[in-house]
């Protein structure tokens, strides 16, 4: 069995499972946010059970339109807050919260071998820890809150092997954009992506989170990495309960094995309006920008901010560019503050926001006008994703976004650093 099949078999109480098989799996954590929880709560109440199956396995994070951007958002957040208080579930208030997919691993709420379902498509982020994590809708979350399990079709696994060592300005974001560009936005539809190879072994945990985060942009059900010493180091101080690690069998059956030599790849940029519309940065031509966003569940971790600060230090953002930097959690914010990164950003002419999904989905904190163009470290560049349907979003790494903010055109970090 593959890694994913082993985790699902263990949670379905079966010796083995095969791709295509329908199973009921026990869930270790159920997640919803301020946008998806209100519908999940409404549907949960329709089921007619009084209490969630296990309050410490249900977590709600208000992060999308937070801090409340308007009265309707405030009403939705209030409903979620009241439900969590009444049920005694895990809940992270503004001031303690972060962007859900940055926050939950950081808090040790997701561990290797877990099955996690979340009413947010980027729940697949936790695959970086060797967990099986997947996005679902609010009604699925309602059912799981009532029963503690959920139906799944066991996905086939695509094994992606990355050989070689990455160039100076190339990281997890570039690898995953490169992969989505090669596979297409439905290239891994209904499948799990298992990431491996030298280049993945060499990636930091932050880089692996970025890769697993965007598995959904290739249509995948999950993106997963094997557990290694880096994973164990990451969870050592965080885990508050026991967990199981799984390894794929030698003779595991993969639907496809795809190998890439990534030593020579350049920083990648996804052009409007699909994440698969990627190009190496040298083939982009001159693209002027109005805004740069550095943050999100994809790239709002400490390493992302360190890379951006390394480029922005002692330099000024182009006067016509709004550069918005969003630490992914209070902890990331605090760590960035201690390292002096926040001062670097402010001196460079950037604005630093409290953790929020905000601009990524055109919610608040940086919505685009018609005709405006943004380079963003987020995960989607669909029509109107960050605001006006006449605006454009280019996706990149924090390094490229920071360099572009300085130049005012989409630029390789090489161009602005020595």
């Amino acid at each position: 069995m593959t890694l994913v099949e082993k985790i699902l078999a263990a949670h379905a109480g079966k010796k083995r499972v095969s791709p295509g098989e329908f199973v009921n799996v026990r869930v270790d954590l159920v997640l919803a946010n301020d946008i998806t929880a209100p519908i999940a709560i409404r549907e949960f109440r329709r089921i007619g059970v009084e209490r969630v199956f296990s309050p410490h396995k249900v977590v709600m994070v208000p992060d999308h339109f937070m801090p409340n951007k308007d009265i309707p958002s405030a009403e939705q957040a209030k409903l979620v807050r009241q439900f969590c208080s009444q049920q005694g579930t895990l809940y992270f208030e503004v001031g303690r919260m972060g962007i859900e997919h940055v926050l939950l691993p950081e808090q040790g709420l997701v561990l290797p071998g877990d099955v996690v379902i979340g009413a947010d498509s980027h729940t697949c982020t936790y695959g970086a820890l060797g967990a099986f994590a997947t996005g679902m809708g609010s009604t699925d979350i309602a059912a799981a809150m009532a029963t503690g399990d959920i139906w799944m079709r066991v996905p086939p696994t695509i094994k992606l092997v990355y050989h070689g060592s990455l160039g100076k300005w190339v990281g997890g974001k570039d690898l995953i954009l490169y992969t989505i560009g090669a596979l297409g936005v439905d290239g891994a539809l209904y499948s799990a992506m298992e990431f491996g190879g030298d280049a993945i072994d060499a990636l930091s945990m932050d880089g692996r989170f970025t890769m697993a985060n965007m598995a959904i942009e290739a249509g995948a059900k999950a993106g997963i990495c094997r557990v290694d010493n880096k994973t164990l180091d990451y969870i050592k101080s965080r885990a508050k309960r026991s967990y199981n690690t799984y390894e794929p069998d030698e003779d595991a059956q993969y639907s496809k094995v795809i190998e890439y030599d990534v030593s020579a790849i350049e920083p990648q940029v996804a052009l409007p309006h699909l994440p698969a519309n990627t190009r190496p940065i040298s083939q982009l031509g001159k693209v002027e920008i109005d805004q740069a966003v550095i943050g999100s569940c994809t790239n709002g971790r400490l390493e992302d901010l360190e890379v951006a600060a390394g480029i922005l230090a002692g330099r000024m953002i182009a006067p016509w560019v709004r550069c918005i930097i969003i630490p992914g959690s209070q902890q990331v914010y605090l760590d960035a503050l201690k390292e002096g990164l926040i001062e670097v950003f402010i001196r460079a002419g950037a604005v630093v926001s409290t953790p929020t999904c905000g601009p990524c989905l055109g919610g608040h904190m940086g919505v685009l006008a018609a005709g405006e163009r943004c380079i963003s470290t987020t995960n989607r560049n669909f029509v109107g994703r960050m605001g006006s349907p006449q605006s454009e979003v280019y996706l990149s790494s924090p390094a490229v976004a920071a360099a572009s903010a300085i130049a005012g055109i989409i630029t390789s970090p090489e161009e602005v650093t020595d």
Partner: protein
Amino acid sequence: MLKGKVHKYGANVDTDAIIPARYLNVSEAAELAKHCMEGIDPEFVKRVQPGDIIMATTNFGCGSSREHAPLAIKTSGVSCIIAKSFARIFFRNAINIGLPLLECDEAVDHTEAGDALEVDLSNGRIKNPTKGKTFTAKPYPDFMAEIISAGGLIEYTKKRLESRGAKSEV
């Protein structure tokens, strides 16, 4: 039997096109339906009639997990969606809330926008009288058919919990 006119779209219709996130500060289906398909077809809500059918090519509903998307479509009066393929989360969401989805390459290839279709969900038959053709959609796996026949995931879950309760009482 479902009957309605076809609104046809291409590949990768994403959930931001179906219901832009700026409208997700409410959860009421009727409010969401006012903005259905706004990102790709601002005139859709003016044209759509009860029973109408949305048709698309591949990967319909890709992107976010927002259940607001199938909810907006269902509440706008659309009776079913026919596509070559659906994004995974959208597929689950639609089945869970009782919005029928049919996968059928031939129907998509041989139907134009504005054609009136007749769809029999019991056997997956899609009839296009304008073109004089009948197509058959892929059947649902048994497990999903069970959820559909229960009336969606909430009703299915109620039944599961009832049978669990009955067992534990024995």
